[in-house]
Amino acid sequence: MSFESQTTPRSRISLSQREAIWAYLFLLVPLIFFATIRFWPAIQSFRLSLFTWHVDPARRLFIGSQYYEELLSNPVFIQALKNTLLYTVVTVPASIGLGLGIALMLQAVRHARGWYRAIYFAPFITPAVAVAWVWGWMYNENFGIFNRVIVEWWVFVERIGLPWLAIEPQRFLRNPEMALYSVAAVVIWQQLGFQVVIFLAGLQGIPRIYYEAARIDGANPWQLFRHVTIPLLNPVLVFAVVITTINALQLFDQIVNINFTNQGGPLNRTLSLALYMYQEAFGRARLGYAAAVTVVLFVIILVITLIQLRLTQRRVEY
């Protein structure tokens, strides 16, 4: 296109201006799309959170910040908020750490790297619902594979006369202290492949020349990792951290399906903000209150993402 523009000197606007206009024109299409299906509903849901819910707009009562006040004093909301932050604190470092570790190891693998990558990526493309159901069975107290192994181990250590090595069968999803971590493990397992793939891509984008230069200067493997890999991988790290955090804050599918009888249970210990919002909106027909939850969730995600971008982008070195 730029070639054609150069050959048509009739126009009065400069080439760069014309290119800018075209760029904005093309950007306008997705912008209108996002404005109508993303931004407008977001503004609407803020409006909704100030009214009681009724299908007839004329019968919605303005109550101002009442739902926000209710939120702050509602123990279930507080529990869901705590859980959501805990999910984030657990799943983000774990899946980034494991993902980076596996990517580094895969990079050292010479044969069948594509196969390994495919294997690690498979959980990510498996539907969350199917994953949750299968893990629900694996965690099952009586028939799950984990307790099966624990019981076999128990029998084994008793036979060899070391009964103090035995472990009690666990209630992975029903123990209030353990349930959230059991769900978090599933989420980490599922996201791992995504992390591995983007870290692999990031690692392959680092020019060999830096490693060679550092090695000539006598750098050991740790120094290579710390002073070459990490700084040059920073953009990928920032992306991974932001995306994983947002995913963790919006956790829904896995929680809903792993304990279908008591979603978010036991005792609300696996309840996430997104699930809480859904239950209030469609289980209890309190859409105004649910909208208030959404607004709070939006603010939390916005603030956390901004802080992360501030903290992590400072260190980008080229």
């Binding site: 009724h54 019968r59 279908f260 008591n262 249970g265 289980g283 027909a285």
Partner: protein, 420 residues
């Protein structure tokens, strides 16, 4: 069958188009469940044939997203004119405006109160009815006769008291160390109703006050009910929650895996048990305590009208005529035959053919003393009871303390509803 339905609809649409706008179109919604859809298709076919001025079209949605679909569609001024809803949703739906009162000029209260069993009156809100059922449900005990024989129990005398129930369940249970291979009773499913409505009532006090403004089980027999039920797991070890994962895991374990000896389930499960069970099974009325006081939990899905039906007098009249049609004795008989749910008309549940039926009999008997607990917020009140028993089972809390917390939470929900 489906072709003929489509043909009727297509023909009626054509007729409607060619003869002008005299014809009213009604949209009917219910959740997806094969036999329910089939029964409703047959009813709609008959109705459309008998009422050339009305065309009813059925649309269905998966159960898990049903309420979400209703909320979005009706808020957008679309979706159903006549909608099927669980009686427990009615308070929340009425408050949100998803359902409107049934038009009294077409469906009079005198007729409703003389024709339907009294349970239907339990969902009258501020003097208005918001729906009428084609069928109702009650609870009963399903048991595996083969397993009874195997365990040396008499398959023809199912437990009549909770003491006998625990004894039978113990005999049926096969434990391996701390885990179970087979359990005597399948926990889950309907147990929150069992504690709140059945056991509490059997022990002598109702769970809520008659005007449904006050929670009574906290000070009443709720504590004892929760203790008895929890002890089945903690002391008697006749089973465990989530033995088979999933909402209907307890039923699946009973029907297909055959590792659950007894379940307490609603009459809606009859069809599934009849089609799925490859063993000799039986149904018995719910056991009682030693004093023999009976109680049961009844519930129903009902047909209500949405604001869409109020868009014109013709539409409202058509909706009322349709609701009247799907609640006739003939419709109830069809529903019983196809779905297996019990009829909601007074005359029909006294039919000796039904009351002496080996399967339906126990449910019909239960209906006579069943109570449909009125909910202001079905989901939240269900969770209150689930949390009450989970605190006892998983955190070792005393039932007295746990039921007190539950009663306070439940009271807060009732108060909140009254205030809004």
């Amino acid at each position: 069958m489906k072709h003929s339905v489509r043909l009727v609809i297509a023909l009626s649409l054509l007729l409607g188009l060619s003869f002008g706008a005299a014809q009213v179109q009604l949209t009917y919604w219910q959740y997806e469940f094969n036999t329910r859809i089939e029964a409703m298709n047959q009813l709609i076919e008959q109705f459309n044939a008998e009422n050339p001025d009305i065309v009813v079209v059925q649309e269905t949605f998966p159960f898990d997203s049903y309420q979400q679909q209703v909320a979005s569609a009706i808020s957008a001024g679309q979706g159903p004119d006549v909608v099927q809803l669980f009686y427990g949703y009615v308070s929340a739906w009425q408050r949100a405006g998803y359902v409107e009162p049934l038009p009294q000029e077409h469906l009079s209260h005198e007729w409703i109160e003389s024709y339907f069993i009294p349970m239907v009156e339990s969902v009258k809100i501020d003097g208005e009815y918001y729906g009428l059922p084609t069928a109702v449900r009650s609870l009963a005990l399903f048991y595996n006769k083969d397993m009874f024989r195997e365990a040396g129990l008499d398959p023809e005398s199912p437990p009549a008291t909770w003491t006998e129930f625990v004894e039978a369940a113990k005999a049926l249970t096969v434990a391996r160390g701390p885990l179970f291979e087979r359990i005597g009773y399948g926990f889950g499913g309907q147990d929150h109703h069992l504690i709140r409505t059945v056991l509490t009532n059997q022990l002598g006090t109702p769970p809520y006050s008659a005007d449904n403004r006050e929670v009574l089980y906290g000070a009443g027999t709720g504590e004892e009910a929760l203790r008895v039920w929890s002890d089945w797991q903690l002391e008697d070890r006749i089973g465990v929650l989530e033995f088979i994962p999933g909402t209907s895991g307890y039923r699946e374990g009973f029907i297909t895996q055959e590792n659950i000896g007894m379940i307490i389930d609603g009459s809606f499960a009859i069809g599934q048990v009849q089609n799925g069970a490859q063993f000799d099974w039986g149904v018995a009325e719910l056991p009682t305590f030693d004093d023999g006081v009976q109680a049961n939990y009844g519930s129903f899905w009902m047909n209500g009208v949405t604001p869409n039906a109020y868009s014109s007098p013709e539409k409202l009249e058509a909706a009322a005529r349709f609701i009247e049609f799907v609640t006739t004795e003939a419709a109830m008989q069809l529903w019983l035959d196809v779905v297996g749910e019990l009829p909601a008309a007074r005359t029909m549940i006294e039919d000796p053919e039904l009351t002496s039926d080996p399967v339906y009999g126990a449910f019909i008997a239960g209906l006579a003393y069943a109570e449909a607990t009125q909910f202001v917020d079905e989901l939240a009140q269900r969770n209150v009871m689930l949390d009450a028993y989970n605190r006892v089972l998983l955190e070792g809390m005393d039932p007295a303390e746990s039921i007190a917390i539950a009663a306070a939470e439940d009271q807060a929900l009732l108060d909140q509803f009254a205030a809004e």
